[in-house]
């Protein structure tokens, strides 16, 4: 991976790297696991995302174990950050590879996984580079990341290339609607100060149809799109049919059925 001298959006190549975005996350890396710190929204969002991933993957692969439902699956988490998704997936039995371009976040992720006694592989790399190396996974996660990459279509294609035939992808992001602008940027960044200002740029938010089209170009068929709704009274996220703000989707690649 080559670091970009000019951290501007247009200069950012290869596809999945946006140096300014990565610098922003690096600045707060040591706080990834502080549930009351800058990553609090991700901690709050985690249960609903994990429930969706677990249900989508057990359904897709026909898995039935109660205790370790993801046993036997090799999963890559692109843009894994401090490992907030990697660790739970490893506890559920998966063999997990976390991939992130920010070394600061990966250092935190490695130390945390070791303390928690979990064997997780962390790679300082990008979806594009790992795909080029020929590695393939049963399932690829790209959560809250497509709204941060420079070239979304190229990034989604790289994610699809990482998936074995018959495998699947889970992606979550923010819709480009006026309501998402109001809630995610004006609300979360400016009024509630949930996330640092400048975390999101509304132009980069993605409509579900656009993401489904990118996936289709990569050879993946979108099988489900669910909204993620926030209940401010219970400070809790749940699945919903409303995809106007946050949403998560599952897509699968054609290929032999997994056993």
């Amino acid at each position: 991976m080559t670091k970009q001298a000019e951290p501007t959006e247009t200069a950012a190549r290869p596809g999945s790297i946006d140096a300014r975005e990565i610098a922003g996350f690096a600045a707060v890396a040591d706080q990834w696991w502080d549930a009351s710190g800058p990553f609090r929204p991700l901690h709050r969002l985690n249960p609903v995302r994990l429930g969706y991933i677990r249900d989508a993957l057990t359904g897709h692969f026909g898995l039935t174990s109660q205790d370790r439902p993801l046993e036997g699956l090799a999963i890559a988490d692109i843009g894994c950050g401090g490992g907030l998704i990697c660790e739970p997936l490893a506890r559920l039995g998966a063999t997990v590879t976390g991939i992130d371009a920010a070394p600061e976040a990966l250092a935190v992720a490695c130390a945390h996984a070791e303390g928690a006694g979990l064997a997780i592989e962390y790679l300082e790399s990008t979806a594009e580079a790992v795909a080029a190396s020929g590695r393939r996974f049963d399932a690829v996660m790209a959560l809250e990341i497509v709204e941060h990459v420079a070239d979304r279509t190229a990034f989604v294609a790289d994610c699809c290339r990482l998936v074995k035939p018959g495998g699947s992808l889970v992606m979550s992001t923010l819709n480009r609607t006026p309501r998402a602008f109001a809630l995610a940027i004006v609300g979360a960044e400016y009024l509630l100060r949930w996330v640092p200002r400048g975390s999101h740029r509304w132009r980069k938010f993605v409509r579900p149809a656009e993401l489904a089209r990118d996936l289709r170009l990569g050879g993946a068929r979108t099988t489900d799109i669910s909204g993620l709704a926030y209940d401010p009274l219970r400070d809790r996220w749940s699945r919903s049919r409303d995809v106007a703000v946050n949403y998560i989707l599952h897509a699968s690649l054609d290929g032999p059925e997994h056993s």
Binding site: W33, A35, S36, H43, R44, N46, P47, L50, G51, R54, D67, E87, P88, L89, A90, R91, L92, A111, H112, G115, A116, G117, R234, D235, R236
Partner: protein, 402 residues
Amino acid sequence: MTQRCDIAVVGGGMNGLTASLALARAGFSVTMIEREAPGATLTDGFDGRVSSIAWGSRLVLDGLGAWQAMGAHAQPILEIRVSDRDAPLFLHYDHRGIGDHPLGYILENRFIRRALDAAVASQPGITVLAPASVTAMDHDATGEDLTLDDGRVLRCSLVVACDGFRSGVREMAGIGHRTIAYGQTGIVCTVEHEHDHRGIAHERFLPAGPFAILPLPGNRSSLVWTEKDAIARRVLELEPEAFLEEIAWRLGDFLGDLRVAGPVWRYPLTLVLAHRVIAPRLVLVGDAAHRIHPIAGQGYNLGIRDIAVLAEVLGDSRRLGLDPGDAVALEDHARRRRIDTLSLVAVTDGLNRLFSNAIPPVALARDLGLGAVERIPPLKRLFMRHAMGTVGRLPWLMRPQG
């Protein structure tokens, strides 16, 4: 040497035993740390009190496999009569008003402890360290180290403090608390009586504080007599005949001849409320979080509800692969427990203050208040359900199975 487990439960009393059972059944490896040597808390002389087990709590204990051994010693409560000295208006709860099961049960604590202890002994996934106590706590990003008095270190993901209203864990974690001394002492004894109590529990509000007559199996009742500290000291110095006389005139003659059976116990009454019930990798349960006035017999029931919610929240997050000490789950637990705890604190504290007051307008207002509740059936049913611990969003352990 470092031992590892998912969850360390500190304290092996009624709440600690119940929490260990519930968390082990939710799939966690549990280590319970108890200060007393094994068996010491099971002797007849260790705890002379009785507890009320609300219907909802019975469902939980049933689900944990501990009820069957207790049931033989449990007296069903079929009616609760609340009265204010000789006031004509009183509140009357009858179990037939809400269904075909009793309002709750009265049990001697020694039988509760023994049944829980036996259930813990046969539950896989629980390690008991006793006698042992925690001398230091230290947490980092991935876990908590508990140093024990013999130098051992226990590494866990979450500490559940069930070490009572003087909780050492709470103090080590730097969580402050508020204590209100009521200036009252609870005098507890068992009486044998001539007539059948017919499963009726009586709560009398006397000027010095509430006086409860709680039915036990056979022709026996447990008396919980709340008295001002200074008077209580004198009462406890009385000769047995004089003590019996003091009881007899408060009790009335509806139970016939009385005899005090066994020792007389005294417990100072205080309200203890922790400033918060969670901290990183720590949750306070039962009296460590809140010790309420025993006026409504809700102390252990409140602990059981803490535990049922905690086991549900942690079990849910375990099925998502989350760490047992996950801060989001602990916040959810605290949020779900806040209203129940505060409303019980307010109700028990308020009732005690209201009824320990002989000023006529206050006395009239409370009599009218009780009368109004008596005359409005829906309101009364709500109060009854509250007494039974089955109000609001229930954890799954409290829902009838099947």
